[in-house]
């Protein structure tokens, strides 16, 4: 694809790193040639993030050597990494919202003198902004006014200014639209053609095929030798990541009993973000998918049902009884469970063990009065852990130390213990690797088969089509189409969420 010399610019040998008893990397190897794009792939918890941290000087390996341009180096800090010509775009945006674009570009640049003026700050900013496709953004714009995608592009611009030879991008496209992704990929290609080397960490396999020359796949902290992407297929990457062939991501559907009394009846419900009243009936054992773009109203419906968004009008019946939708506590008492799309913010208790996280919603069920029966708490937590294929020996570890996939299993699993009649979930597999994803789908289907009604709100069309029985599409605050999963396909789903040319039809 690109002009490549066989010159190795970066080489890691025998890298081992352990956090307590958890081995994040074991004797891992990594190499990078000049002018190539190397995809770094693996499940969550496979060691990708640790590898990136080692490369960026944020983490010191317990053993192993790092060679840059044939010279042995120690990366003890991010300043060391920068001096060695390595620059990192992080998953989390490191831009300072209160500063301007030009000021952010200057941040952390050690080649700059400490004395600066607006003119020296702006010098070079224009050119680099144009290169990453931020031609409409002035250097004086305050970063807080930029969109997520623009902020991400700004990160890229910052790296360009560093004139780094090795760029590391850690899931740069996670929050971006297709058009913005295309822009990032194009910039990446240009940089590779210039002879820079790029390490590209992602969950999105199609980007690997569009961009990367070779791929290094990590599994359980061990590395495989780099493979040319031309020799790989979608399936072979997944099987290398998982170590087994993924038979099917989604569990078989159990036919929903059409004659059954609806578990949930939503009648003329309106709330903030829902411009037209919603009517919906959900039967026990049914998984309903809601999908739409940001602000389409799909998420508003879920939050109104959860009791975290005030209801303007309409009513909801649960097993024929009107539901009190004022507040989460009331919802929980009526056995309505809710998981938001942001597990770090309000899905888990950081610093507390997995056990306390799991038991938090159903503590009363294992208590006599206020007295916790600790044996029953442990037994029930262990049952859930086993059901969600989580190692019961790790119940006492702090939840923060788990991988994203395992965290999500705990966050969802803790509600399974509350035996929900209605389970509301936003983005059930965000930031979760392929393996854990399949497990989560299986568990959700299992919960439905046990009689729960499940509502999944997701922006992942594969998930919506593969998991759900019934699918509702939303556009600008109203339902555009409601149909059984068999009546949908990728194209019709896309059309319904974008509402292409059907403004009048509905």
């Amino acid at each position: 694809m690109t002009m490549k010399t066989e010159e190795t610019v970066l080489s890691l040998q025998g890298i081992t790193k352990a956090y307590g008893s958890v081995h994040a990397l074991t004797d891992a190897t990594f190499e990078l040639r000049a002018g190539e794009v190397m995809a770094l792939l693996g499940e969550n918890g496979a060691g990708k993030s640790t590898m990136v941290k080692v490369l960026s000087g944020l983490v010191q390996p317990d053993s192993g050597t790092i060679q840059i341009a044939g010279e042995q180096r120690e990366l003890r800090s991010s300043a060391d990494a920068q001096a060695a010509g390595i620059a990192v775009v992080q998953q989390e945006y490191s831009a300072v919202p209160a500063l301007t674009v030009a000021e952010n570009l200057a941040l952390g640049d050690r080649t700059r003198s400490w004395w600066w003026s607006r003119r020296t700050l702006h010098a070079g900013a224009r050119e680099v902004l144009d290169r990453v496709g931020l031609d409409h953004v002035g250097p004086d714009r305050v970063v807080a006014t930029l969109s997520v995608a623009e902020t991400q592009l700004l990160e890229l611009a910052r790296i360009l200014l560093r004139d780094a030879r090795i760029l590391i991008l850690d899931e740069p496209t996670a929050a971006l639209s297709d058009r913005e992704i295309a822009r990032i990929l194009a910039v990446m290609r240009d940089l590779a053609v210039e002879g820079r080397s790029i390490v590209y960490v992602t969950h999105r396999l199609d980007e690997v095929f569009r961009l990367a020359d070779r791929a290094t796949i990590l599994k359980d902290g061990r590395s495989r030798p780099p493979v040319p992407v031309a020799d790989l297929t979608h399936d072979s990457i997944v099987s290398l990541m998982l170590g087994r062939r993924l038979a099917s991501m989604f569990p078989d559907r159990t036919p929903v009993d059409d004659a059954a009394q609806p578990r949930v009846e939503v009648r003329g419900l309106r709330a903030v973000g829902l411009t037209a009243p919603v009517d919906l009936a959900i039967r026990p054992g049914e998984i309903v998918g809601l999908t739409g773009q940001l602000g389409s109203g799909a998420s508003s419906l879920v939050r109104a049902l959860a009791g975290t968004l005030p209801v303007a009008e309409g009513e909801v019946l649960l097993d024929g009884v009107p539901v009190d939708l004022r507040g989460r506590s009331r919802g929980i008492r009526q056995r309505i469970a809710y998981c938001s799309d942001d597990r770090k913010k309000d899905g888990m208790f950081p610093g507390l063990p997995v056990l306390a996280n799991l038991s938090s919603p159903w503590l009363a069920a294992v208590s006599r009065g206020s007295w916790i029966d600790r044996r029953r708490e442990k037994e029930k937590a262990a049952d859930i852990a086993r059901a969600f294929s989580f190692d019961t020996r790790r119940l006492t570890t702090e939840i923060d130390t788990l991988s994203g996939g395992n965290q999500q299993k705990i966050v969802l699993g803790r509600w399974a213990g509350a035996e929900p009649r209605l389970f509301l979930i936003e983005e059930p597999t965000r930031g979760v690797d392929v393996g854990a994803r399949a497990e989560i789908y299986t568990k959700l289907r299992m919960l439905a088969d046990q009689g729960a009604s499940i509502v999944v709100c997701s922006s992942d069309s594969t998930e919506i089509l593969g998991l759900c029985d019934t699918v509702l599409s939303f556009y600008r605050g109203r339902v555009t189409r409601q149909a059984a999963h068999s009546d949908w396909n990728e194209e019709s789903l896309m059309a319904a969420t974008l509402h292409e040319g059907r403004e009048r039809a509905a």
């Binding site: 359980d220 087994r244 913010k345 309000d346």
Partner: protein, 333 residues
């Protein structure tokens, strides 16, 4: 095609659960820096200070640790639940003492003399809890309530010393029971009960959950109001016990008594290692923290430190311990 091996890799053994190498600092923290510090102070005291390792002095240390400890143990729930600390501890405790003495002087039976201040302090706690749960800052609220209580007490008592009027307060008035100061029994019982509440009841667990993550707690059905009120009520119970015991021991009280109680209690909780932001800690640690502060103060008194220097050293200790706990608990991760 290159010679890529698509066969599943050999089943790798799960990561061995061997203990990670840990720094000396994190080892000390895992034993608990507190027992180490307590032991160190006792050894230093015994070796350098005459009159330290005597029965009378040990009783004095335990007595001093008990009043602070009872309140600190009970304040742990407030700190655990992410509500920082109360700065009105001294005023609440003295209010309990004055009410107890006045009721006793008026001829009330012991049950009423103790129950009266308890009800008053619990009512004040409920009000503070509701206000704080609504979003008011704990420090400001408790400081304001403390000022109101102090002002009211000063006006009503007119700066007079309140006494029992010569009436007996029974067993509470004895200084020793089986050779151990009465207040020490108070601390032991309060600590044991608080430990049970913290580890074995859903009320204690909810304090921990609220402190670990407020948004998650809310979505998990934990009531901020009920949990915060509960934490304030536990503190009120502790302040009542401490106030009654102090008053019964001394037989008198003024609005200005226990002037360093608030700072001592806050220091005990923090030195004990309960996280200022909540979500981690234990009432038992606060009791040990109170013992440490009492030991240190006692050593300084015996060695002729003035009140000013004692406070300065105590303040420095809080800073050093909090920094050390943060540093080493991060290293232990």
């Amino acid at each position: 095609m290159s010679d890529v091996d698509f066969a599943p890799p050999a089943q790798s053994t799960p990561p061995a659960a061997e203990p990670a190498r840990r720094s000396l600092g994190s080892r000390i923290v895992s034993v608990g820096p507190l027992p180490a510090a307590l032991l160190l102070l006792v050894l230093v005291g015994t070796a350098t200070t005459s009159g330290f390792a005597t029965v009378d002095n040990i009783r004095a240390i335990l007595t001093a640790a008990s009043i602070t400890g009872i309140v600190a143990v009970c304040m742990t729930f407030l700190t655990l639940s992410g509500n920082f600390v109360s700065l009105g501890v001294q005023q609440n405790t003295v209010l309990a003492a004055i009410l107890f003495l006045s009721l006793t002087a008026a001829g009330a039976p012991l049950v009423l003399a103790v129950g009266g201040p308890l009800v008053v302090l619990v009512v004040i706690a409920v009000v503070q809890g509701v206000v704080v749960a609504r979003g008011m800052n704990t420090v400001i609220t408790t400081l304001a309530v403390g000022a109101i209580l102090f002002g009211a007490m000063s006006s009503v008592t007119g700066g007079q010393v309140i006494t029992t009027g010569g009436r007996s307060v029974g067993v509470l008035g004895q200084s020793l029971l089986f050779g151990v100061p009465v207040v020490v029994y108070g601390l032991v019982v309060v600590t044991a009960v608080a430990w049970l509440i913290a580890t074995r009841t859903s009320l204690g667990r909810r304090c921990l959950l609220l402190g670990a993550s407020r948004p998650t707690a809310v979505l998990s059905g934990v009531s901020i109001t009920r949990t915060t009120v509960f934490a304030f009520v536990v503190l009120a119970v502790g302040a009542t016990i401490a106030g009654v015991l102090t008053a019964a021991q001394l037989g008198q009280a003024t609005a200005n008594d226990l002037s360093t109680l608030t700072i001592d209690v806050v220091a005990a909780v923090l030195v004990g290692g309960t996280a200022m932001a909540g979500g981690s800690g234990s009432p038992v640690r606060s009791a040990a923290g109170a013992l440490l502060i009492a030991l240190l103060n006692n050593l300084m008194v015996l060695n002729g430190f003035t009140t000013g220097w004692r406070l300065a050293v105590q303040g420095a200790l809080v800073v050093v311990v909090v920094l050390a706990v943060q540093r080493f608990s991060r290293a232990a991760r």
